[in-house]
Amino acid sequence: MKTGFLRGRSASVALAIVIAVAILAAFGRWLAPQDPIAQNPYAMLQGPSAAHWLGTDAFGRDVLSRLLAGASSSVLASVFSVVIGLVFGVVPGMVSVFLDRRIEWLSLRFIDALMTLPFLVFAIAMTAMLGNGLIQAMFAVGILITPAFYRVSRAATLSVVNSDYIEAARLMGASTTSLIRRHVVRKVLPPVAVAIASMMGACLSIVASLTFLGIGVMPPNPTWGGVLATDLTTLYERPLGPLAPGLLIVATVWALNALADALRDADACPQKVRK
């Protein structure tokens, strides 16, 4: 099937990009050829050259080094958010199925309430009011994506709990905890993996937006969104400047989304999921 083949190829491209970015995030600071915060007033706003592969910015700093160093801030911030969302979302989502009906209803409404909050504005508000740093920002974002993980793990747990073989297992005397450990966890993992991938992409996009707006940016530490923002102010001197950080952001987010799609399709094969 033509579309199936395409999907396989884009999935492998996506995986390659994600792995590359992960390496950059882990080792970017050491891979950078020059000091990302070293200013050089004699080499400002230069185009690509042998000494500076991507040119220099308005302070004479090497752009390539800044992007490599910025990879860790941007990517690690997204990872942090996703971890927060996982911690506060997955287990409560699973547990909610076994709770008393009224508590379950209340917790669902609480999750709904979180989803009603306007995302970026609330993240900024939370960041600003609790201390303007990237960690606070990503903590706020993590809280706001908790509903996604909650719903995913809850839906998966529900489908397991209501299935026949669980009934049979319980009739045969299996304890609740062993049931959870053996069956529920295994069923919940794949959709949660999909959610992780797509939330990573979303969080990276949000980190880029926040740092673009200057929230959580601690100069002179580079972030992809921050570099993009300053590149836009020097567009006349370096018209291709925003291309590098822009492509990095877009490619990474696309790769994570494509990976999420591929994971979802792989998981969806055995049963027909209507969504």
Partner: protein, 346 residues
């Protein structure tokens, strides 16, 4: 990412399943009333929960107007006096109830920063944000639907691959990237549209359209991508359903099949997407309002948050919560109307 989110007032968890019977107005009205009651049962706690979260955020920040009024030289007694003056020394629950009571009266408090009533600040800026969000939703719904239908009807062909590819890339574009690219192309290079400022509709309708064009387009890209993809999937599935084959066999025209039957059934998930996108559109308005220097509530909320002006932030968040809830209820009603016979829900 789109399919992980659902409509905040998702009827999936709603114990009451309304159904509109095909016989008798009375049954239809009671069903509608039951639906309304069920919606309220869900919406009110959500509203209370969301406003409580908002309020607790302001409380947790520990901010007060003392810093702005008294300055660094303020002694603890002065700070305590100012806090008492603003009622900040009362228990949290009391403050929350007083605040909610005020909102019910229409009193959102006054800005700690310039003493202007919060409601006035919001009403001055709400039309700006709503114009852009509404236009973005309209553009997104229109173009997304057209692209989704085109991709589904001619599935497998070039247009389908183009739309899917576009959707895939477009969902990866942060809104500020799209906004800047559009400014560069449409404003700086082609000199077609302005890139800053806002003109109210009442002043100059044509000017208003011109200033909101680029920001609305920028915000609509994600909606288009999501909607096109979702609609395509839903329509492809619906087109292969049995009743469609039956309709073709019965001799109904393809256009009638498409618009009357297929869209009705495939539109459900697409409408859910639109409703989920609304809180995100309101949130993303911060970015467009900053880039285009527009006096909207998103920018005001962000600036006020950074200044520590808690009443303005809380007031803005409450207003957006209300808008989001109203839109969710509206979409739910729309879905219920569009799918009379089938209560199938993914």
């Amino acid at each position: 990412m789109s399919t992980v989110f659902e409509n905040p007032i998702g009827a999936a968890d709603n114990p009451v399943q309304p159904g509109i019977a095909r016989s008798g107005h009375v049954l239809r009205i009671t069903a509608a009333l039951r639906f309304l009651w069920a919606t309220l049962l869900v919406a009110v706690p959500i509203f209370l929960g969301a406003t409580l979260i908002t309020f607790l955020l302001g409380h947790a920040s520990g901010l007060d107007p003392a810093a702005g009024i008294a300055g660094d030289a303020a002694s603890p007694e002065v700070v305590a006096r100012i806090r008492a003056q603003f009622g900040l020394d009362r228990p949290v629950i009391v403050q929350y109830i007083a605040w909610m009571a005020g909102i019910a009266r229409g009193d959102f408090g006054t800005s700690w920063f310039n003493g202007v009533p919060v409601l006035l600040l919001i009403t001055q800026r709400l039309p700006v944000s709503l114009s852009i969000a509404g236009a973005a939703l309209l553009i997104g719904a229109t173009v997304g639907t057209l692209l989704g239908i085109a991709a589904a009807v001619w599935r497998g062909r070039l247009i389908d691959r183009a739309v899917t590819g576009f959707a895939s890339v477009a969902s990866a574009l942060p809104p500020f990237v799209v906004a800047i690219v559009l400014i560069l192309v449409l404003s700086l290079w082609l000199n077609l549209l302005p890139s800053a400022g806002y003109i109210p509709f009442s002043d100059d309708p044509a000017g208003w359209l011109r200033v909101i064009a680029i920001p609305a387009m920028a915000l609509s890209v994600e909606v288009i991508a999501d909607l096109a993809r979702q609609l395509r999937t839903g329509l492809v599935a619906a087109l292969s359903e049995n009743y469609v084959t039956g309709a073709i066999v019965r001799g109904l025209s393809p256009r009638r099949i498409l618009f009357v039957h297929v869209l009705r059934n495939g539109a459900g998930p697409a409408l859910s997407i639109l409703s989920v996108r609304i809180p995100m559109l309101i949130g993303a308005s911060v970015v467009t309002e900053t880039i285009f220097t527009m006096p909207g509530i998103g920018k005001m909320a962000a600036d006020s948050a950074l200044r520590g002006d808690v009443p303005v932030v809380e007031g803005t968040l409450v207003v957006s919560i209300v808008i989001v809830l109203l839109c969710s209820i509206l979409v739910n009603a729309l879905i219920a109307v569009l799918q009379p016979a089938s209560r199938r829900r993914g």
